[in-house]
């Protein structure tokens, strides 16, 4: 069936079997491999994306149900070439290790910080309860989200609209973590 939807702000159209997983549509059809597959059973959260602003497991969402809806993946978090506060802080605070859970964690955390700009550790744990990680032991993920919340609040004071924080911060980014995929 024909499906048209928005991915990271861009209109996309594809012809897919209705029960094709949104995850496969993103990874195999649209080439957006930033969203990861960790279990394909809704048990790990690696494939978390925002569907109309709410986190869902892309491995369980039939693409047929995405008609006319808006999807945000990890590729849509920062502005072109710039990192969002969460991305920045996951680098600075060691929130990413092997990198498979990272995109899903970032999406869940992004959703949390949009709703709750100043979450305590329990709120962070609750928001990330559906994201398993086998490397970090979680502590540094919590630290990263906590730091990103501070950064976003600081930027919100500077900039006004919290949704713009990613771009605003990114523009000042003087990262030395410039290594891309070799």
């Amino acid at each position: 069936m024909k499906i048209s939807f928005k991915v990271n702000g861009a209109a996309r159209e594809l012809d897919a079997p209705p029960l094709q997983r949104l995850l496969d549509a993103l990874r195999l059809v649209l080439g957006l491999t930033g969203t990861k597959e960790g279990c394909a059973e809704g048990e790990c959260g690696a494939c978390t994306v925002l569907l109309d602003g709410e986190p869902v497991n892309a491995c369980l969402v039939p693409v047929g149900q995405c008609q006319g809806r808006e999807i945000t993946t990890v590729e849509g978090l920062g502005a072109a070439g710039h990192l969002s506060p969460l991305q920045r802080c996951f680098i600075d605070h060691g929130g990413a290790q092997c990198g498979i859970c990272t995109p899903g964690v970032l999406i869940s955390a992004e959703h949390l910080l949009r709703r709750n700009p100043d979450p305590d550790d329990d709120a962070i744990r609750e928001a990330l309860a559906g994201n398993l990680c086998r490397c970090t032991g979680y502590q540094r993920i919590i630290e990263s989200v906590r730091a990103a919340a501070v950064l976003r609040r600081a930027d919100a004071r500077d900039v006004g609209d919290p949704r713009d924080v990613g771009d605003a911060r990114g523009a000042r980014d003087v990262s030395h973590d410039r290594q891309e995929a070799p």
């Binding site: 990861k36 990198g99 502590q139 973590d177």
Partner: protein, 744 residues
């Protein structure tokens, strides 16, 4: 930071962090190829027997299905076992996928459906009809313990138990105080977050480019070449990012075999990704039974150590790991006896999993030490200190370095151990029982042969490469940091490449030896480049360094500077320009200093202190606080080092309280083969974890003085938790995991 030199030991950010937080890092299943086909594995549902009938007609009839590979139509394969034996293979006859009609374990691949899309392959796989002629199987270690036998050695790195010393059994019988107990631990699966996957690109000239999830590209290359009769230069293996492995990528798993076989047969590019369920159909930490008996004087001096273990293995290979040897190495005791056996079962061969062997042996030993401390009415830490040893009695050698005493002291101080009330059930908070427990950890500090290449360009950019891997541990970061520090370059000007068989070869990434091995090669190759630069700098007309020797200069900020007068400097670019060298290239292979190293026992140590809170009515255990003090030699990259230990401690929490792969012995099949029911720790299980790196100098282990950190963080954690649970509740649980039913 730009422009500043980085030193070894600094806490720099993960250099691949940006690629990972933006989704740009590409993993084995994410490489594209023209006309890529997708393979889906059909797995056996029985544990033992023969395939009676295998009907692929319905699958083949599905539009889009290109081929169904089975033992009946497979191509010719290598004949001898040695062709299938990889770098991490134990003694025996390695498993050969789709080789014949024999079924040797439940979950064994019996067919590969290859189709134009993933959906078609998956659907067609459900149409493959297999019937079996089953035979009786045995999968229960408890039932086979009597038939356990001595293991055949042969697995790389395996040390059989040392010969006994003194007379442990007699000493035990005579000891004033003794404990003697059996400890059991279940099979566990690595469950890295990324599932095993391979994308094989069939190049126009017939060569293969293989993107594989592996802890060693050379291992995959050799295996594929040998099995399929290819020349190594026709097989390039690439693995830039690995989404966790913890040992699961030490051996080429069957997805790489099947993907290559399909690509060879079809002359097409093929990808095979395993499902989470199939992640439970190859290696795992073996179910293990142990007995530890300790005898001591009334004052707490150890008189006897007996440590016996039986681990499960398959019918076709003798998986072995060092479980018992540690017991005669960690404490001073003149009477020690060890026994280690394996029991053959109708299962797949177990596989090294984070701190293989040690994590089990230390669970039993450190639980027994705790039990002994109560029998002696002695503080558990005091008991360990009373039996502290400066010498490895197994080999009668000194340690190359051992700052375990400092681990105990600093860990205890940070934890507040002196406030512990000695009696079980004495500490409470609200309606919860509070327990404090501790344990010691140990792991070998090893170094392997490794090679690296470095190219310095006139623009000051340095590219260093070695065919190692980064399974999330931070290899990219640590190697970049070592290279940058030696040439005094900013991190941003150094690129480290790995995971490619076109790079100089490196050992498998395992055993915590990557920094020690590859780091040493990187150091050496960068020092060779440094020497070249220095020579050019000296030769320059009017060089202020003309009279200087290499040890009188420092490399910093892209310059070679006189140490005593840094204003006297030559820029690297200027030196290279003058010498008409647009690039300087070096390749080096480094070997451990075997003769010197052989004089010592080389090990990392740890002391782990744990607080648990137990809701006794409901049996629920929370690990509320952990302090892990590590003596791991020199710390190369402080941030990634801390991450390694934090993650490993949480592995210890999983091992102690949650992780267990449940086998249905009637069916001979693992049943909780998903992440909903194979419980790995979740966010909410983790509270406060603190890591202390105790300073430790060691000039023997390797030129960097780094001992490696991948394993040590988990060793001892399960015992510390079990000991804390006993302290809280007065209940000693001797079979892992300590699930709530065992505390009711």
């Amino acid at each position: 930071m730009r422009g500043e030199a980085t030193r070894i030991g600094d806490g720099i950010n993960r250099v691949d962090g940006r690629a990972k937080v933006t989704g740009q890092a590409k993993y084995a299943a994410e490489f594209e190829a023209e006309g890529l086909l997708h393979g889906w594995v059909v797995s056996s549902g029985v544990a033992k027997g023969k395939i009676a009938t295998l009907d692929t007609s319905a699958a083949l009839a599905v539009e889009g299905v290109v081929h169904v590979l089975t033992h009946e139509n497979r191509p010719r394969l290598a004949w001898f076992d040695k062709s299938y034996r990889d770098e991490d293979a134990p003694a025996g006859s390695p498993f050969r996928p789709l080789y014949d009609d024999a079924i040797v374990y439940s979950g064994q691949p019996v067919a590969l459906v290859v189709a134009t899309t993933l959906e078609i392959a998956r659907h067609a796989a459900s149409l493959v009809r297999v019937t079996y002629k089953t035979e009786e199987h045995e999968t229960d270690l408890a039932a086979r313990r009597e038939k356990a036998r001595k293991a055949r050695p042969g697995k790389g790195g395996y040390e059989p138990p040392p010969k006994p010393r003194g007379n442990a059994d007699e000493a035990l019988a005579k000891a004033a105080v003794k404990v003697d107990a059996a400890y059991e631990s279940p099979a566990e699966h690595h469950n890295p977050m990324e599932m095993h996957a391979t994308t094989v690109v069939h190049e126009p000239d017939g060569a293969l480019t293989i993107y594989d999830k592996t802890q060693g590209v050379t291992n995959t290359q050799t295996y594929v070449s040998n099995v399929f009769g290819l020349k190594p230069d026709q097989v390039r293996v690439i693995s830039p990012f690995v989404g966790g492995a913890f040992g699961s990528g030490l051996r080429p798993q069957y997805q790489v075999f099947l993907a290559v076989m399909a690509a060879q047969v079809l002359k097409r590019s093929v990808r095979v990704t395993l499902t989470r369920q199939q992640m439970f159909t190859f290696g795992y930490r073996p179910a293990t039974w142990q007995r530890v008996a300790l005898g001591a004087t009334a004052e707490g001096k150890l008189e006897a150590v007996v440590h016996e273990a039986i681990g499960e293995t398959s019918r076709f290979e003798d998986y072995v790991e060092v479980v018992v040897n540690w017991s005669g190495l960690l404490y001073q005791c003149d009477n020690a006896r060890y026994d280690y056996k394996v029991a053959e079962l109708d299962v797949y061969t177990p596989l090294d999993m984070r701190a293989p062997g040690a994590v089990l042996g230390l669970y039993a030993l450190e639980s027994a030490m705790d039990e002994l401390s109560y029998a002696l009415h002695m503080d558990p830490l005091a008991l360990r200190l009373a039996n502290y040893t400066e010498r490895d009695q197994n080999t009668d050698k000194p340690f190359s370095s051992k700052e375990l005493r400092a681990c105990y002291a600093q860990g205890a101080a940070r934890f507040g151990w002196e406030k512990r009330l000695p009696t079980p059930r004495a500490m409470r908070e609200g309606n919860k029982l509070v327990g404090w427990g501790m344990a010691t950890g140990i792991w070998e500090a090893m170094q392997q042969k490794a090679a690296a290449r470095a190219v310095l360009s006139i623009d000051g950019k340095l590219v260093v490469g070695s065919g190692t891997s980064d399974i999330g541990t931070g290899t990219y970061t640590a190697m970049t940091q070592i290279a940058a520090s030696i040439l005094g370059l900013p991190i941003a000007d150094v690129t480290f490449k790995l995971g490619d068989t076109t790079l100089p070869p490196a050992p498998l990434q395992g055993g915590s030896w990557t920094v020690a091995s590859v780091g040493t090669a990187v150091k050496a190759v960068c020092e060779a480049v440094r020497e070249q630069v220095f020579k050019l700098a000296k030769k320059m007309k009017g060089s202020p360094l003309a009279q200087a020797s290499l040890d009188e200069v420092i490399f910093a900020g892209g310059e070679v500077r006189l140490a005593r007068d840094p204003a006297q400097a030559v820029s690297i670019a200027a030196a290279m320009r003058a010498g008409e060298a647009f690039t300087l290239e070096e390749e080096t292979s480094t070997l451990p200093q075997l003769q010197e190293q052989a004089k010592y026992t080389r090990a990392t140590h740890s002391a782990v202190f744990v607080e648990v809170k137990v809701d006794e009515d409901l049996g629920k255990v929370e690990v509320t606080r952990v302090v892990s003090a590590i003596a791991g030699g020199r710390i190369v990259s402080a941030k990634t080092a801390r991450s390694q230990i934090l993650g490993a401690v949480v592995w210890g929490i999983g091992m102690a309280l949650e992780e267990e792969t449940l086998m249905d012995h009637d069916l001979g099949r693992f049943m909780n083969h998903n992440l909903a029911e194979y419980h790995v720790p979740v966010n909410a299980d983790v509270r406060d974890i603190e890591v202390i790196f105790v300073p430790e100098e060691d000039e023997v282990v390797n030129p960097l003085g780094a001992k490696g950190l991948g394993e040590i963080g988990i060793v001892g954690v399960a015992a510390a938790i079990a000991n804390a649970v006993f302290h809280a509740t007065g209940k000693r649980v001797r079979d892992l995991p300590i699930t709530l039913d065992k505390l009711l």
